[in-house]
């Protein structure tokens, strides 16, 4: 049995793991607030200037950026295994890896641009 270190795999798994935890904690709360509670008037909706000021805070931007990046890598990691093993396409592993993580990188760049552009 060959013993070859694959240092990138632990890092991808950490991003997958952290993304899963963050998404599970934050996304339902954000969806409940902005998708249900504010539109239905259960809670007083914050005005645009207020939200704009919140998003302009560097810490909020950092948290939102981390959420977007890690959640995208979580999805990429899961999709990679689903496509590779679920569809039994191990011979296309390189292409699948590049597509999944490439899409996550592109999405992260887009999230970063949007968050910066918001300022």
């Amino acid at each position: 049995m060959t013993v070859v270190r694959r240092p990138v795999e632990p890092l991808l798994w950490l991003a997958f793991s952290a993304g899963g935890v963050l998404a599970a904690l934050l996304v339902p709360a954000l969806l409940l607030l902005f998708g249900v509670a504010f539109p239905l008037g259960w809670l007083p909706a914050p005005g645009y200037p207020h939200l704009d000021a919140v998003v302009r805070h560097p810490l909020v931007r950092l948290v939102l950026f981390a959420l977007c990046v890690l959640a995208l890598f979580h999805a990429a990691h899961r999709l990679r295994y689903t496509v590779r093993d679920g569809l039994q396409l191990r011979r296309l592993s390189g292409l699948i890896d590049a597509s999944c993580y490439g899409a996550a990188l592109a999405g992260s760049a887009a999230a970063g641009y949007l968050l910066l552009a918001a300022g």
Binding site: V3, R6, P7, P10
Partner: protein, 245 residues
């Protein structure tokens, strides 16, 4: 309840057939009988040529793992009443080559077994007296020591079915059993094999291994726990200077 139930048993006799076939046996339907009792009835009374492994009849030896109605289970713990009115489909464990009928080839597992060093690795000679452990120290690894090597987790694991080099659930749980033992000092030696591509990183956390385990070992949990440990070590090795890793 009917007096009888049918067992649809997968047969493979390499000397007379190239492909597995199915043979049906009608056996008495008894409330207290397991599928293993049914197979033993077939072997003793109906067809002495049927081959299968069994020993303890009480879920201890791990010999009678089979695929029953599609699920990897121990035949000695699977009651006929739970599969009434039948027929009950009995096949060999999946993901293993079949030697004969319900008997599978376990050489791959046995060859990989010593790689995870499933023994206490000591830094220094053992003490002359008992090696005392606190109950909390025993609790750390006891769950993983319950494995009976029945191979149900390998039969349930879709990754093992696709990737023959994968160490597999039971072996990683076994490595954790020793890694978490306060008397053991072999975790650094096991890191090499466990963090290899064929080790923990091949696991995609399907979780079927833990569902199939008849002893509550939770190999999937052991693998995820070790992934965190291996990932922390990787981050440390990338961030810290060599002397402080």
């Amino acid at each position: 309840m009917a007096d009888t139930i049918t067992l649809e048993v997968a047969r493979y006799r390499p000397e007379q057939e190239d492909e597995p076939t199915t043979q049906c046996y009608e056996i008495p339907m008894r409330r207290e009988w397991t599928v293993l009792d049914g197979l033993n009835h077939v072997k003793d009374r109906l067809d002495g040529t049927l081959s299968f492994r069994w020993s303890c009849r009480m879920g201890i030896c791990g010999s009678c793992g089979m695929t029953i109605d599609g699920d990897p289970v121990l035949a000695c713990e699977t009651f006929l009443t739970d599969h009434h009115p039948g027929p009950v489909r009995v096949e060999p464990l999946r993901n293993f080559p079949v030697i004969r009928d319900l008997v599978v080839e376990l050489t791959d597992f046995m060859a990989k077994l010593p790689h995870v060093m499933p023994w206490l690795v000591a830094d220094e000679p053992p003490p002359d007296t008992e090696y005392l452990q606190k109950p909390a120290e025993v609790d750390e690894y006891q769950q993983y020591s319950m494995c009976i090597n029945c191979m149900l987790c390998y039969a349930a694991c879709p990754v093992y079915g696709l990737e023959r080099d994968f160490l597999g659930p039971a072996l990683i749980a076994l490595a954790q059993r020793y890694n978490l033992d306060s008397r053991d000092h072999g975790d650094h030696d096991r890191l090499e094999i466990l963090s290899a591509p064929e080790g923990i990183w091949d696991c995609t956390f399907v979780g079927e291994c833990s569902r199939a385990c008849p002893k509550g070992v939770d190999p999937a949990g052991a693998i995820q726990r070790y992934k965190l440990e291996a990932a922390k070590r990787t981050v440390r090795s990338l961030l810290l200077p060599r002397g402080r890793r």
